[in-house]
């Protein structure tokens, strides 16, 4: 269900999971023109205040940017200190990657822009931070250029290996989620390359010889180091392919449901059974990529919109929130668990900013009303309690845990050894003789016992 909405056409990055207050950064999208042919750009950070009802999101800070963005990413790098919120990186045209200190944007202080790194020869279409070392940033551009930047030493980036010919644009880079020195890149020709940074060379190249795929996006499995997905933006075969690199001759699984090319994909880091894709058929689908149903299992379909959604993201801090960025001028946040704003509450139209597309105002597009859709058929992993223990009468403890035996253990807990001694001394005298020496000393325990055994009150 829709939870929040921001009226921007923007690339989006969520604040990292280590940051307690959830924020979302929006940067003006490149390659989108408005009537004034303005090329102004802004990076804005919104704070996701879930306590307030309603769709509006308060703006936490904004900074002007010289260039518009193709991609944004937010890393936890540099998160020591009281207000450190990490670093936001944006890939733009002219080969520029710009870095901002997120806390300075939120705090509205000077000097938010940290650095501009210009090394690529063409537009920087894709960037990704290393999940293990948040100071490492990978970027991909034209002519098979991939650079790995160390934010502690950003002047000399390294390349992951010799470029493979023929040179082509890099449409996606992604760091492996389990092994920190492996990175994958993909290109519109359908070829994906895996690089090993320790050896500084490409280790494997995968391409599907049968399908005509125009790979737009690539993502690694959150738990299994050898599996990854690529998504095709080609309208003739808009598929998501799941590869296991141990058997890299053909994809392990193909998910086919979209009718037009896929623009973005996102794998939930907390639950590998949830994969989101957004495509040119105006649909955002949530798949279970690990199920064996032929053609792929769709577990959830977001309400359809009127324009393409070009970016989907999972919120790292709060796994049931996702964000979608659409060409209809909105960044929308959904909760996959129900709750949130009801379908009838729509906010008053916010005053337009100059970077918004004024064409949108001329003919009001009929934005489809959000429909009540059923939640995920299977609860996400973060719902399922694996382990528990409950006390019961008589000091018994019933416990269970996540293992294949599906058994429940009943244990006896005694913490007062003195009491145990006394209770055992009760049993020692023979049954014919009632011990004269036994004097009840614990009034609190006795009344409870008496009531329970008789079953009356």
């Amino acid at each position: 269900m829709k939870v929040k909405e921001i009226a921007r056409t923007a690339n989006v990055a969520w604040s990292p999971a280590t940051m307690q207050d959830v924020h979302i950064a929006c940067g003006t999208v490149a390659q989108q023109l408005d009537a004034t042919f303005s090329t102004s750009a802004r990076l804005e950070v919104f704070s996701l205040d879930l306590a307030s009802s309603g769709l509006a999101v308060p703006l936490a800070g904004t900074v002007d940017s010289p260039l518009r963005f193709h991609k944004l990413a937010w890393s936890a790098h540099g998160q020591e200190g009281v207000n450190a919120c990490g670093v936001i990186a944006g890939g733009s045209d002219n080969g520029t990657i710009t870095l901002w200190a997120a806390d300075k944007i939120i705090g509205d202080t000077e000097g938010a822009q940290l650095k501009q790194m210009i090394h690529h020869t063409g537009p920087v279409r894709t960037i990704d931070f290393n999940p293990f070392q948040p100071n490492l940033l990978a970027s991909g551009g034209n002519d098979s250029e991939i650079f790995i930047w160390d934010l502690n030493n950003p002047d000399s980036p390294m390349s992951p290996g010799n470029k493979l010919h023929p040179l082509e644009d890099i449409s996606g880079v992604a760091w492996n989620r389990q092994v920190q020195h492996i990175i994958a890149s993909t290109s519109p020709s359908g070829k994906s390359v895996l690089w090993d940074l320790r050896k500084n060379e490409p280790i494997i190249q995968v391409a599907d010889p049968n399908a005509r795929v125009h790979c737009n996006a690539i993502s690694w499995h959150p738990d299994v180091a050898t599996q990854m997905v690529t998504a095709s933006g080609d309208d003739r075969s808009p598929v998501v392919q799941l590869w296991d690199l141990r058997f890299a001759t053909s994809p392990m699984r193909t998910l086919e449901r979209h009718k037009k090319g896929i623009l973005s994909l996102a794998w939930c880091p907390q639950d590998s059974d949830l994969l989101l894709t957004a495509a040119k058929d105006n649909l955002v689908l949530c798949w279970n990529p690990n199920s064996d149903i032929p053609g792929g299992e769709v577990v959830y379909e977001l309400p359809a919109t009127s324009q393409w959604i070009f970016e989907v993201h999972w919120c790292p801090r709060n796994p049931s929130m996702i964000s979608t960025a659409s060409f209809d001028g909105h960044v929308t946040m959904y909760s996959l668990l129900g709750g949130g704003v009801s379908a009838h509450e729509e906010p008053a139209e916010q005053p337009l900013q100059q970077s918004d597309d004024p064409f949108a105002n001329l003919a009001p597009k009929p934005r489809q009303q959000p429909v009540e859709t059923t939640p995920l058929k299977k609860p996400p992993k973060w719902f399922r309690r694996p382990c528990g223990a409950r006390f019961s009468f008589g000091g018994k403890l019933v416990s269970f845990r996540h293992d294949n035996s599906r058994s429940v253990r009943v244990s006896q807990v005694v913490t007062e050894e003195a009491l145990l001694e006394r209770s055992s001394s009760l049993k020692r005298p023979s049954l014919n003789k009632i011990s004269q020496t036994f004097v009840p000393r614990k009034p609190l325990v006795q009344p409870i016992l008496r009531n329970r055994t008789s079953g009356t009150f």
């Binding site: 709060n318 694996p386 006390f391 019961s392």
Partner: protein, 319 residues
Amino acid sequence: MASGVVSEQYRVDTGHEDMIHDAQMDYYGKRLATCSSDRTIKIFEVVENTQNLVATLTGHEGPAWQVDWAHPKFGSILASCSYDRKVIIWKEVNGTWNKIYEFGEHKSSVNSVQWAPHEWGLMLACASSDDSFSIVYYSEGSWKYKRIENAHNMGCNSVSWSPAVNPGSLVEGGARSPVTAVKRLVTGGGDMLLKIWMEENGEWVMEEKLEGHSDWVRDVAWCPGIGLPISRIASCSQDCKVMIWTKDETVGGKWNSVVLKTFSDVVWHGSWSITGDILAVSGADNKVTLWKESMEGAWVCVSEVDKGQEGGTQQPQIS
């Protein structure tokens, strides 16, 4: 410092086809109810180390998250809650279990259900991911409910009733009636907060908001009272911490918190013993640990349930 002895008595092979999410003995410790992701609830008779599957209750359309036995004075009644947004109340009549009420007003998964202290009647509270919690009660021949919306953002994960005993009634002698008329409960949510609610003039209002966790509150448990002027709540969270919140009526009546421990993984469940002196904590590392408050006020780990079973602790010799 009290030492703990945990000895495994027996295991019940539930036969569930998927993860078990809750297991609870009834009031007398004679029957065990378990619920699972396989959407069923199973009831076993466990007497003298034998186990006997008495019933398998079907009816939920999604994983069942929690079960709770009602007080035996109402009969054999069990409540269950599930991802399918429902709370189902089951009753055993002449040996057969039947569904007597189905509560389906929630819009999202119902994560937790607990019967209120029996002194307040046949009443339960349930917490749901749709940010609300409900009180369902039987009065004047029919089931009624009250739904409290917008309790927590990002879902209500857990609910726990306060004991019906008035804090302080034990030490004050006959001055105050032992059973309190004011109903209270605590809820924990995905907004990292604990909220204490009380019933005032027939409506439920938030009495107190407790902050301290830095991630989802997974479970809340109000310590059973025996009449001492201390109220205590344990909360378990996704931030791997268990916090103990104490309100001492004799020193001003404000809630103070202390971190029991920061574990190595998410803590899912906390449960107090019947007398309220031991807390059993279960976490994602698949371990169950028992904690007790020492004389100095610090919390010490009394035992680890797994170690007790595999290592074999000293078992007192009872001849």
